[in-house]
Amino acid sequence: MAIIRNKRRHGLVALSLILPFLAIFALVFAYPLYEVVRLSFTDAPLIGEGNWIGLDNYVRLFSDRIFYISIKNNAYFVVLTVIPTTLIAMVIALAVNRLSGRWQALALVLFFTPYVLPVSVVTQIWAWMLDFQFGVLQPVFTFFTGKPVPVFKNPYWVLPSIAVVTIWWTNGFNVLLILAGLRNIPTDLYEAAALDGATRRQLFARITWPLLWPVTALVLTLQLILQLKLFDQVYLLSEGGPFNTSYVLLLMVYREAFQLNHGGYAAAISLILFLLIAVVSVLQYQLLRIGRGKDT
């Protein structure tokens, strides 16, 4: 009897521990997840009920020109950011890793500080630096193109410029991850290889690169997910323009739901974005498991 009572007590204690999280999770996560699926099959406005219209939203979506433009821009932005930021972070991390004590701390502060800034602070500063008339960086454009460029109003420059801003803002995070990866590599490996007369290039190719790969893969996938969710910088710097050349999926969700009052249609776009990122995340999770070499 005592054991059974204890067991029930144990269960109640466990329930009391998980219930706070579970309640919040059910209300603001699980229920909205169900709702976004349900809404995507209706013609509901943002607030209020709609009628069941089956797959109409999806049919409409797959013939919506803006949808394809958004997907293309999302993909282009991923190309502009993911691999470049990883490479830049790797170069910086390798350099910082070789510095000693306080110099290393100072260098880290210089490279990491942008990451703790709110996105709108970042965009305000860069909008000023790239200002068409008075921007401090406009001489660079004048030097290369012969005239100042209104970067966020120019179809060619808008996404590359937002990519630069994004890399500047978030790169510190990647530097830290790669630095942690470098620190995890046992130093005796280098000592042993150096004794055998390995050159620096060989040390990098045979030890650093392969042992750093799990972290590199982590950075690549984290970046891929993050950059697919692009919204803040585009909304603040170009609002999707000019001529939709910086229109992206999440901006489309925002426009449809909150400006055009198409809740159901916006839900369908959200769901596509969700599926896209879920696929990438599953990939990331697998990579993480392989990287750690254990089941977590």
């Binding site: 919040i24 910086i92 942008p114 996105v119 969700v253 916006a266 990122i277 599953v282």
Partner: protein, 276 residues
């Protein structure tokens, strides 16, 4: 160390630091702009070296915008989010790690799976929900949807899993309950991880833009990241003042980071799983 190696090291240090200074230039430039007068900012002769020291745009920023409201909203909501996320997360993680109950595996599976759902794709129903609950333009509306941070549970569970069983047995023999275990043993043993997760959650909450931007429409209720985008409309083209507002908005987190550098660095490494 050979002389050649030594010179190489000095050169590398110098190059890295110079690159770092170039990297931070935007912040330097924002600062230089903020202490100039508006007419100086747009004059041709305004160079890269500070040549004026005027705090008028800062006083403008502080007293002619709702910056103080935004500070209070940001600090209040971010603190509440951090505390609730940590407490609910550690409790759930403890149960998952140390207790046997029906549905344990399923719950952990759900937590892991939700890690992969981008919250941005839930904004439409979340907004409808907040509207139904009457939380639009309220702190509750900002806070509630940001309380689900599965990674906190995942990290806590990993660290709780690693606590040696002997520590548990001693307490259980003394008749201690699971609450005692969690708050007297597991939590004190993992203060480091609590700080790390706290820092990361706070930075995420402080910097989040999309959700507060959607759920808040009145200027007085905005958080810092959303509020400062309003000053362009209020000031027009007035870069000294815009930069003053931006820097004042950034100051609390940047100062906190500079003070707790080491902890923040560690926190980022731990919470992304590259350092255990």
């Amino acid at each position: 160390m050979t002389p050649q190696r030594r010179i190489e090291n000095i050169a590398l240090t110098a190059i890295t630091l110079i690159a770092g200074l170039i990297w931070i230039f935007p912040l330097y430039w924002a600062f230089i702009t903020s202490i100039r007068t508006e007419s100086r900012v747009v004059s041709d002769s305004a160079g890269l070296i500070p040549d004026e020291f005027s705090l008028s745009s800062y006083s403008d920023a502080l007293f002619n915008t709702s910056l103080m409201h935004w500070y209070i909203n940001s600090i209040g909501t971010s603190l509440i989010i951090t505390v609730i996320v940590l407490i609910t997360g550690m409790m759930c993680a403890y149960a998952l790690s140390q207790m046997q109950f029906f549905g344990r595996k399923l719950l952990y599976g759900v937590v892991l799976a939700s890690f992969m759902v981008p919250v941005q794709s839930l904004v439409v129903p979340q907004f409808v929900l907040m509207n139904d609950l009457g939380l639009i333009n309220k702190w509750g509306g900002i806070i509630l949807p940001q309380l689900v941070v599965p990674v906190v549970i995942i990290i806590y569970k990993q660290f709780f899993d690693a606590v040696p069983k002997e520590m548990k047995e001693a307490v259980v023999l003394d008749g201690g309950s699971d609450y005692t275990l969690l708050f007297r043993v597991y939590l004190p043993l993992n203060w480091g991880i609590t700080t790390a997760l706290g820092i990361i959650t706070f930075i995420m909450a402080w910097n989040s833009f999309l959700w507060p931007f959607l759920v808040i429409t009145t200027e007085e209720m905005m958080t810092i990241p959303v509020g400062i985008t309003q000053v362009n409309d209020a000031f027009g083209v007035a870069y000294a003042r815009i930069m003053s507002v931006a820097l004042l908005a950034a100051a609390p987190v940047v100062i906190a980071y500079l003070i707790f550098q080491k902890r923040v660095t560690e926190a980022v490494m731990i919470s992304s799983g590259v350092k255990g």
